[in-house]
């Protein structure tokens, strides 16, 4: 774990942001000042004040509480979908890299998946399953499967040719033992880095789906949905649109910084280039 020593400023700032925002999301019921769906008809469209720190929306719902709960939803959906994608894609990648007879089949299927524009693929899946959180998770996961399969396949191909794997085979180790003992440790780091990098884009993805009305359904709070709900009242009350966007940008920025930093720390080639 010597690379831990090389952690740079990007990783520090990124992980701080990610940790703080994740804590906020996890502790939502304890720190949100109001129920996110509770309406205050007398206080519609109020600006930031001591009573409502970030103001209220069309129904007089507290924007800060909705952002805190929305962050929780966004993080849950993005995290679950990227995790699913890493599991499915990672397994497919290992199978493709380890068993040559499966390689062509799996990678061609992935090529066809790459032939679909990502957002369109996702909204088609949502169209079939019907809009909602479950559909969003599945749609985002399927979109990311090919990426993880490629990340897992490369190192698997390389490790399979190593002498120690040959030695293990000669000793009579089963395929599954070799995969578990020799292949998995070698792909866990690139998969982990990819997980961080893709989390950033999955959060944007999730918020775009809910912005389009295809993810989390009202009245439940979701950051993308809040932006689209606030848009008709942009001129009279920009708060309900501005703040949720800032929240998305902050959390994505956190994961981007973390992902970039980890990639730099773990990839000597990138570091030399100063990339």
């Amino acid at each position: 774990m010597y690379w831990l020593l090389r952690l740079n400023k990007a990783v520090l700032i990124g992980s701080t942001l990610v940790i703080i925002l994740s804590l906020v999301a996890a502790l939502a019921p304890y720190i949100a000042p109001y129920d996110p769906t509770e309406m205050h008809p007398l206080d519609r469209f109020s600006g930031p004040s001591a009573k409502y720190l970030l103001g209220t929306d069309f129904y007089g719902r507290d924007i800060l509480s909705r952002i805190i709960y929305g962050l929780r939803t966004s993080l849950q959906i993005s995290f679950l979908s990227v995790l699913l994608a890493a599991l499915w894609g990672g397994s497919l990648g290992v199978l493709a890299g380890y068993f040559p007879w499966l390689d062509n089949l799996i990678m061609r299927v992935m090529d066809v998946m790459f032939a679909f524009p990502v957002l369109l693929l996702a909204i088609t899946i949502v169209a079939i399953l019907g809009p909602g959180e479950f559909s969003a998770i599945l749609a985002i996961a399927i979109v990311y499967v090919p990426i993880f399969s490629r990340v897992a396949r490369g190192p698997t191909l390389a490790v399979r040719e190593e002498t120690y794997v040959e030695a293990a085979q000669a000793l009579g180790a089963s395929h599954w033992r070799i995969i578990a003992k020799h292949i998995l440790p070698n792909i866990s780091v690139p998969i982990f880095v990819q997980l961080t990098v893709q989390l950033a884009s999955a959060i944007i993805f999730e918020s775009a789906l809910s912005f389009l009305g295809l993810g989390t359904q009202p009245p439940l709070p979701s950051l993308g949905l809040m932006v689209s709900e606030g848009r008709p009242y942009l001129e009279i009350s920009p708060w309900s649109t501005v703040f949720p966007g800032v929240a998305i940008a902050l959390v994505v920025l956190g994961f981007n910084l973390l992902g970039d930093g980890l990639q730099q720390a773990l990839n000597p080639q990138l570091r030399r280039r100063g990339g």
Partner: protein
Amino acid sequence: MGFYIVKRIIWLIPVLFVISVVVFSIVHLIPGDPATVLLGTEAADPALLKAIKQKYGLDKPIYVQYFLWIQRVLHGDLGLSVTTGRPVSKLVAERIPYTLELGLYALALALLLAIPLGTLAAVRKNQAVQWLFQGFTLLGLSIPRFWSGTMFILLFSVHLGWFTIVNFPSFMGDPLDNLRSFFLPAFTLALPAAASIARITRASVLEVSNMEYVLTARSKGLDERRVVFIHMLKNALLPVITVTGIYAGYLLSGTIVVEKVFAIPGLGRLGVDAILQRDYPVLQGTVLVVVTLFTLVNLAVDILYVFVNPKIRYV
């Protein structure tokens, strides 16, 4: 090289076939009877249901249905919209120009922004430039388009009144007015791509700047501008072209969100509205056309790349 291009074009056939199967399946995967799905109403007149079933051959085995469907599609018949009753092919054809223009405009803006910025960040080593560059690329990659677009509307249209975003005149009618109306949406679409291309440009120029021929050019006493633009940039552009190629297809298909934000009647909005209104024939047609466009753009990019990159000989 010729062989590679032929191979790449032949590979298009299975890809388009699979795409057509996937698009065909949409209607069959949606829970419910395909005839009801195509009619859009659950309590339709039984006589009408029967007519639809006969017309589309829905009472026949699934592979026969596919062949009937693909036959109609190849003749340009994408079915009728459930909500408007108009032919889907017409609806799609009307929307294509908007999406195409938005995508191309965004690509042009992204390159105009990214290449100078990336080169500047690679050449000027001072702290301020580096910080600004990191800030720009990180924000560009972190801010979702639907929000940045909304903020641009709030700032430039509502408060400053620089752009009107009510209607989108055709390019042929009034090119300048058209480019002006499309500027904000194209800029919104371009930002994340610009950030990403700028990063590649910077890394690529940095890598080239350590090459011996750059040292030679400098020691010959060449003007620094000449060194940067002729010797470095020209050689550094190859990876930039690769990434730009990836973004070309991506920008064309990434217009969905931006079209929604700026109320542009493009293909993306047609598709999303079709989902929300359960107009599945329209959804099917839109997905088919967008994915085919995307595949063709990617093919064009791959072929162009062979010509641009003399170092790679494909076999």
